[in-house]
């Protein structure tokens, strides 16, 4: 059972990691245009971004 001492914090850390990723993606507006994102993958890069 003592393995739990490592496993539970680890599980929580991983979870919190995903939560942070989720919060970051919300802040970046990644859910604002779901339809566009689905279509953009089909477009060729005519003007590759400079940066």
């Amino acid at each position: 059972m003592s393995v739990l001492i490592y496993m539970i914090p680890l599980a929580l850390l991983i979870g919190i990691g995903w939560l942070c990723a989720f919060l970051w993606s919300i802040r970046g507006g990644q859910y604002e245009d779901m339809e566009g994102a689905a279509n953009r993958i089909l477009l060729d890069d005519e003007n590759p971004p400079e940066n």
Binding site: I8, A11, L23, I26, E32, G36, R40, E46
Partner: protein, 720 residues
């Protein structure tokens, strides 16, 4: 021409000298448009970002440099064949997107929390205290609490806020039992945890929030999308007008027009605000405002209403009222009156909550009393059992019953071209018994089409002349003719028609008096043009505003549904009578002014009728606002679209029928879902009252009832 930038005021300055402009783009239909527009703007110098949101059709441009480059960007996009106009988020819409973000955040956090608590809960469910050991169990409970308590207060806010808002008004809704259930489950679990008891319900509380937030978010998303789509349809206030100051012409945004300004209105342009003619004479298409299908001739000194269209010649007009005060003050007054008079509709979910809440709370209270006083249990245990009653009845299925159906129905209807703007529109639509209809633009196409077709060179010559005019009758002739045109140089003769020379002969296309056969039987009621070739008998072209292709069958279906159908039009009696008899509508009214239409609605309401109003004009707006439920075609005036609950696109009338069918079926599904939720409670509540419900049972009951309700809602796909 002044060189001042017209659109610079819409540019917002960001950090580091960057400017930002948001444009609403019309005509984006396929993903390829994304690239076309973005690459056109990105290749402009100093532009750092150009991103088109395909969902909202809005382009976000960020650049280093002067604000007045905005005009250039707009011109560039317009040059690609799209229509760009600066976008200013309406207040409601800004709140919408803020709220969407808030819900997403709450949803994400509760999802994270329920996943992690479930991880621990599974261990608790699958083992006994002997296997696990007291210390481990309490550690698990503590970790669950550490995750659950902040989550409840963070992600439960949408429910708490709404519950608080209705409670402080002395009413109740579904969020009241939800909030109470969540808070009691959390509080009681905390208490039990400190007591070292076996069962805690942190997982139930968080899972409840997660499930209900899914419903809430989907519901919200569907409506926000529809609202935005309806708002994006071209707005009258969004364009520019040409203002004359002395000899200088200057473009001014329509919303900035002020009383006394002199505006030049070109042929085919909309009158931007209520005004009087100070120079010139022209024909005005008033159909958007009055429903009258014939253009009206105006001269100096006559009044013009905003929204009407200048058809024949340029006009100089003086603005009477700023645009936002224009649009017939009495119509707006009537609309306000109508909206105030509208009885507050109570949604079925709230009606259910009103019955549901007291029943559940009485059950929980009596459970507590029973175990405490009759079974002589310690009060902590008795309270725990009472709280499990609240948790198990906490309306997970009930909370999802309406939103899932609503989300599916609204989403599907939107794909079929019907935008549902208000949350309870479908519920109300399912209960109608009377349909009140406008004629021009609603039952009919809204523009004249060539009727008696004079074949041969007559039509070709007429079309060659008509191609030089924007008059609706001329356009109808051009529309009816396919093929090559004679190259003619055409003069437009004010108030009469078009004149040219063809093969050495004078040819004229215009009114009866000017070039027609004055001896022919007079028919003031029909629309006509005459083609007069020198030395030959004049040829008559007759026009009519035809019914939409499917009007006849839709009216037939509406009648088959047993609805009372009332036609109320602002058009002349003969035109209305013809349409009514063609469609077999017995109850019709012609020459209706906005006030008449509104009085008619009041009469119907007085008879206890639930009226669906379908209309597109300014004269329909008060009725649209005051009717039980209302629909407007997307081609209608924006004031009508704003007042309507549903907006449908396309040139057919059938969407109205489809919306009603979907509304009916949705309502049936909602009732079924409620029945399922109640059935579930019939089994679950006695178990909870008997004290048999453990966290595991609660979790299973909650998920399975939700899944059943969602599955039932998906049956909506069978009719769409």
């Amino acid at each position: 021409m002044s060189s001042a930038s017209l659109y610079a005021p819409f540019v917002t300055a960001g950090e580091g000298g960057k400017n930002r402009l948001v444009l609403s783009i019309e005509g984006v239909h396929c993903p390829a448009c994304i690239q076309k527009i973005e690459s056109a703007i990105v290749t402009e110098p100093d532009v750092t970002e150009a991103r088109l949101n395909y969902t909202t059709k809005r382009l976000n441009i960020i650049w280093n440099g002067a604000a007045d480059r905005a005009d250039g960007f707009i011109a560039r996009i317009n040059g690609l064949g799209y229509k760009a106009r600066p976008f200013e988020a309406a207040k409601a819409e800004a709140t919408d997107s803020e709220y969407a973000k808030f819900l997403r955040l709450c949803l994400g956090v509760s999802g994270f929390a329920s996943g992690n608590i479930m991880l621990l809960s599974f261990a608790l469910w699958m083992t006994t205290t002997q296997q696990m050991g007291i210390m481990t169990r309490e550690l698990f409970h503590l970790i669950s609490a550490l995750i659950a308590v902040p989550t409840v207060f963070f992600s439960g806010r949408p429910f708490f806020r709404s519950a608080y808002a209705v409670l402080s008004k002395g009413r109740t809704n579904m969020d009241v039992p939800i909030s109470l259930g969540i808070l009691l489950a959390t509080g009681m679990s905390l208490f039990e945890m400190f007591r070292g008891a076996e069962h805690v319900f942190f997982d139930s509380a968080v899972m409840l929030i997660f499930f209900l937030l899914i419903g809430r978010y989907l519901d919200f998303l569907a409506l926000a999308n529809a609202r935005r789509a309806a708002g994006d349809l071209v707005s009258m206030m969004s364009g520019t007008a040409t203002v004359l100051e002395g000899d200088i012409q200057r473009p001014v945004l329509i919303r900035d027009l002020r009383e006394g300004m002199v505006v030049l209105v070109g042929v085919g342009e909309r009158i931007p605000a209520d005004a009087t003619v100070i120079d010139g004479a022209s024909d005005i298409d008033t159909s958007p405002v009055t429903g009258e299908s014939l253009p009206v001739h105006v001269k100096v000194g006559e009044a013009l209403y905003s929204g009407t269209i200048n058809m024949a010649a340029p006009l100089k007009i003086r603005i009477l009222r700023a645009a936002e005060n224009s649009l017939l003050a009495d119509v707006i007054r009537m609309m306000e009156k109508a909206e105030q008079g509208q009885a507050k509709y109570v949604r079925i979910a709230d009606r259910a909550a009103r019955m549901y809440t007291p029943v559940v709370h009485v059950l929980a209270a009596s459970t507590f009393v029973y175990w405490l006083l009759l079974a002589h249990l310690p009060w902590e245990q008795a309270l725990m059992i009472a709280v499990t009653v609240l948790i198990i009845t906490c309306p997970c299925a009930l909370g999802l019953a309406v939103p899932v159906v609503q989300m599916l129905a609204v989403g599907r209807l939107m794909k079929k071209g019907v935008m549902v703007k208000t949350g309870d529109a479908l519920e109300r639509l399912s209960g109608i018994d009377t349909v009140m209809l406008d004629k021009t633009g609603t039952l009919t196409v809204g523009e004249p089409r060539l009727l008696d077709n004079a074949a041969g060179t007559g039509l070709k010559l007429a079309a060659s002349l008509a191609a030089h005019s924007k008059h609706p009758l001329s356009r109808a002739i051009v529309h009816a003719y396919e093929g090559q045109l004679f190259p003619l140089s055409v003069n437009e003769v004010q108030g009469h028609g078009l004149e040219s020379v063809h093969e050495g002969k004078r040819v004229r296309l215009g009114s009866r008096a000017w070039c027609g056969d004055t001896s022919a039987p007079d028919s003031a009621d029909t629309l006509e043009l005459w083609l007069d070739v020198e030395g030959a008998a004049p040829i008559r072209f007759g026009f009519a505003d035809p019914l939409r292709a499917d009007t006849q069958s839709v009216i037939g279906s509406l009648k088959a549904n047993g609805f009372r159908i009332v036609l109320a039009s602002g058009d002349r009696e003969s035109a209305v009578r013809e349409v009514a008899s063609k469609l077999g509508i017995a109850e019709w009214h012609a020459g209706m002014k906005p006030a008449n239409k509104f009085a008619l609605l009041d009469t119907l309401k007085g008879q206890g009728r639930k009226v669906l109003m379908v209309g597109d004009g300014l004269n329909d707006a008060p009725v649209l606002a005051g009717a039980y439920v209302s629909a407007s075609p997307a081609s209608g005036l924006d004031i009508a679209r704003n007042a309507a609950d549903l907006v449908y696109t396309g040139d057919k009338f059938a969407p109205v029928l489809l919306a009603h069918k979907v509304a009916k079926f949705s309502q049936r599904l909602v009732v079924q879902n409620f029945a399922l939720a109640i059935l579930y409670n019939v089994f679950a509540v006695p178990m909870a009252m008997a004290g048999y419900v453990t966290p595991l049972v609660a979790a299973i009951a909650m998920s399975s009832s939700s899944v059943i309700v969602i599955a039932n809602a998906f049956r909506l796909r069978t009719i769409l």
